[in-house]
Amino acid sequence: MNNKLGFYPGCSLKGTSSEYAQSTLALAKVFDIELVEIADWNCCGATAAHNLSRELATALPARILALAEQQGLTEIVVPCAACYNRLSVTQHELNEDATLKANVSKILKLPLGGKIQILNVMQFIEKYIAGRIEEKTTKPFEQKVVCYYGCLLVRPHNILQFDRLEDPQSMDNLMRKIGATSLDWGYKTECCGAGFSVSRTDIVAKLSGKIVKDAKDRGAEAIIVACPMCQSNLDMRRPHIDSFLRIKTNIPVMYITQAMGLAVGLSSKELGLQKLFVAPTFASPN
């Protein structure tokens, strides 16, 4: 199997969620997989670009895909849910529309093959790690967890073809493999407030608050996520959430790569756990 894959961090993984990048790379290393960062990568356009111009919104991710191809990569791991969504949707649109593909290729002055395999973290783990995870698990992650998928990881379903749209299961299945108890809950794919994190913290407090409340009510010891935006809203905005809920909550919000990293014996430091605002008390600080 291919053990050298492309890696597209995007802006979040280089900044606010560097622990997501850190834990993903550390986990890959345990399984002898090399993640090679795409050289000279650029912004995926996120939510801003496609509000302004379709051309720009397509050209930005297209350049990333073209660079990956140029650098001889056939598969790329894209941990951020928004980047994953933009890259997947762009590749789909380019492959559906030959005129658009030709235009974008002309703008970029780069050829577009359109055959890159784009993997989110769950797909990456399922393909390269899940088969060996049980044998490598040294410290089972014996916590009660709720898996939070957010909005972008599974939508639009007809393009991504990833997991079940309304009731996704992939994260739950992976968490069970490392010994966790995955709880049934009502907020798997509800909105966290997303980009309102900056402009309307009150809305984020309300939306994310409902998510945290349900997790707490069901006795969850951790919320497991795979998206930097979800993580920061549920974790960094906890003071706002708590004041909205009028209770003190202490459920940590961890990336799936951090939980799996702990299970295979990586240390809290190696996984960047100290960067979480709500500390996971069940993990030793080192």
């Binding site: 079940r164 749209l165 309304e166 009731d167 049934d184 809950w185 009502g186 509800e190 349900d214 009510d217 069901r218």
Partner: protein, 666 residues
């Protein structure tokens, strides 16, 4: 040399205002083989028809071309006219200069020229017409009804009451279908069983009806009027001649925890069972998949308890064949289960139920004796949510169509709930209320205005369970258009009506078309709603599309009328425009090489194998022969035939080429 008459009709101004009819007639009179040509204002009128008859008699015409409207409109009229004057009706042809010319072109020289060409083509065709006689086919006056729900029951009774024999085949141990499961019926709230069960008894007692319960159609061969049906009588393991229906066996059966199909899984039944107390026939069958004896080889408690020795474990499926003249499909529909909806709980919340399950809860014969109780803990739900369009009208779920009955039964459910739980609160989430039908709209208004059901226009996005309550998250799109969250005790999904299991297989067995959703297709959506595209096979009820009881009964009576109409003839008369394999020179010779490509092409299984033998009785070769009863004259075989040995009578290759050549050469 032909003596053809051409009759050009003005159709008032329809043709006359655009086409110069007189010139068409004059030009036609100069055509080779045309003996006589004339024009008239209304050729289909009595004086017009007289002109044709007189000309045939006086001029001794051997062919007629009427240049007028579409043959769909008046071909039978003019053929009858010709027959009255002693001409074989198939020597009369129509040239369509109305729909194909005057209606689609402006007045002018070219339009008249086109009309002339159209006439010329038909003159060339008629020259090559041969007298044909209608095909006579005998009819077996016995109808096969497949499915014993209200549709099959109604069709059976109507046909039987008209004095014809009926064979009714039902897959389940009892007839009655979904209607027997219903509590009360809209828009009158009369009890479903009270109006249905007397008819079930009528079926059982009718001298003209033979009922095969626990049976399925295995095979159908033949053609309209002359089908041969093979029916599989599934082994009941009970001899119905000996069984008195006392029910002792069902009370003693040790396997008691099988979900009851009749109660939609909300109640339990035994392995030897009668589906419900009012079943017809009211005798049990053994469910071999669950019976302890068939699974382990030990038990036979029912055999010991049976006072008449009716239990027979070694019975096997039997096959019987019946000659029948017509088939009515009445196989009904099904509803989706709740596990179709991940967002509504994927079948994991026991208090999220389907509309059909609610019917069982509300039915006096149901598992709760008609009290509305939660399946999970048996408590009475104080707050209940009904979700209309659960799956229906949702292309994302693969069901773009409206299931038609849900708006009405949901209103009925809300009403029944309010009648039974006085302090209860009911909510109905809906997209639109489709209450077209006699007294239907009034019924829905009654649910809202008199019984106080809360109608919320909007869809439900998600249901999850929390602290024993079902949290229903939806949106109210009216007035303030805001999200709604209801803590419900029970949720009823009006799940989409879908085709019954096995529908596709049955359709293929019978060569009946079906739509992408596996509902059987009618021959014409408006004008042939109870016919299929296979002659002699009719359909009714919900096997065609979801239907309520009034519509089901109407179509069942409609299908029955078609069967009775068919059976009212001593023999069947059909147009002779069917395929024939040629017999050139002598009777024994054919250019057919026996490749049977035609057999693979024929959609109606009309191609048979015929052996041509010499005088010594030895087979010289095997050629194709067309069964005149089955052939529908579509002509597919003609285009497939490599040796040009098949032709459609009255539409031969020679005739078609002559028509084309007549235009090209002028």
């Amino acid at each position: 040399m032909s003596k053809i008459g051409v009759f050009v009709c003005h159709c008032g101004e329809n043709i006359g205002a655009t086409v110069d009819c007189e010139r068409v007639a004059n030009t036609a009179s100069q055509m080779e083989g045309v003996e006589f040509a004339t024009d008239y204002k209304y050729m289909c009128s009595e004086p017009g028809q007289s002109r044709i008859k007189d000309a045939i008699r006086e001029k001794g015409l051997d062919g007629v071309v009427v240049a007028a409207c579409s043959p769909r409109m008046h071909e039978p009229t003019f053929r009858k006219t010709c027959a009255e004057a002693g001409l074989n009706p198939f020597m009369c042809e129509m040239s369509n200069i109305r729909e194909h010319c005057s209606w689609v072109h402006e007045k002018g020289e070219e339009t008249t020229e086109k009309a002339v060409d159209l006439v010329r083509m038909l003159v060339e065709k008629v020259k090559r017409n041969k007298p044909l006689n209608p095909i006579k086919v005998p009819i077996t006056k016995k109808a096969l009804i497949i499915g014993g729900g209200i549709a099959g029951i109604q069709a059976s009774l109507d046909i039987a009451n008209a004095g014809q024999k009926v064979i009714l085949v039902e897959r389940d141990p009892s007839i009655g279908g979904h209607m027997s499961q219903l509590s009360e019926t809209f828009p009158t709230l009369d009890c479903s069983q009270c109006i249905l069960t007397p008819r079930m008894v009528d079926v059982a007692q009718h001298p003209n009806i033979t009922l095969y319960s626990y049976a399925e159609l295995e095979k159908l061969e033949g053609f309209i009027g002359n089908f041969k049906a093979t029916i599989r009588l599934k082994a009941k393991s009970v001899d119905y001649k000996l069984c008195t229906g006392c029910g002792a066996c069902t009370t003693k059966c040790p396997t008691k925890k099988i979900p009851s199909e009749f109660n939609e899984g909300l109640g339990l039944r035994t392995a030897i069972y009668t589906p419900f107390p009012q079943a017809v026939p009211n005798k049990p069958v053994i469910d071999r998949k669950n019976c302890r004896y068939y699974l382990t080889g030990k038990c036979k408690v029912c055999e010991k308890i049976c006072p008449t020795g009716a239990i027979q474990f070694d019975r096997e499926d039997e096959f019987i064949t019946e000659d029948i003249g017509a088939v009515v499909l009445a196989t009904g529909f099904n509803v989706l289960k709740t596990d179709f909806f991940p967002e509504y709980g994927y079948g994991k919340y026991t208090d999220v139920i389907t509309g059909l399950q609610f019917e069982r809860l509300a039915s006096a014969s149901g598992p709760t004796m008609g009290e509305i109780r939660r399946p999970s803990d048996g408590t009475i739900p104080k707050k209940i949510v009904f979700i209309a369009c659960a799956g229906s009208r949702d292309p994302a779920k693969g069901i773009p169509y409206c299931s038609k009955i849900c708006c009405m039964y949901t209103a009925k459910h809300a009403m029944l709930y309010q009648h039974k739980v006085h302090d209860g609160e009911s909510y109905v989430f809906y997209m639109d209320i489709r209450a077209g039908g006699k007294n239907y709209e009034e019924f829905v208004r009654r649910a809202i205005e008199e019984d106080g059901a809360n109608y919320v226009r909007g869809r439900v996005a998600r249901i999850y369970e929390k602290d024993g309550k079902l949290i229903v998250k939806g949106v109210d799109t009216l007035l303030d258009a805001k999200p709604v969250e209801i803590e419900a005790d029970m949720v009823v999904l009006a799940t989409a009506g879908v085709s019954n299991c096995g529908a596709e297989e049955l359709a293929q067995k019978l060569h009946v078309s079906y739509d992408p959703y596996k509902f059987f297709a009618e021959a014409h959506p408006k004008l042939k709603p109870v016919e299929t595209n296979t002659a002699g096979i009719y359909l009714c009820g919900s096997c065609q599309a979801p239907k309520d009881i009034p519509d089901t009964v109407s179509t069942a009576s409609g299908a029955a009328a078609k069967v009775i109409g068919l059976f009212s003839n001593a023999e069947l008369t059909r147009e002779p425009t069917i395929a024939v394999v040629n017999r050139i020179a002598t009777h024994d010779v054919s250019t057919c090489v026996g490749c049977f490509l035609c057999e693979t092409a024929c959609p109606y299984q009309a191609i048979e194998h015929e052996e041509i033998k010499n005088r010594a009785g030895e087979v010289i070769k095997t050629v194709a022969r067309v069964n005149p009863g089955l052939c529908q004259g579509c002509g597919t075989c003609v285009s497939f035939c490599r040796s040009k040995s098949i032709d459609i009578q009255g539409f031969s290759n020679e005739q078609m080429f002559a028509e084309v050549m007549s235009v090209l050469e002028n």
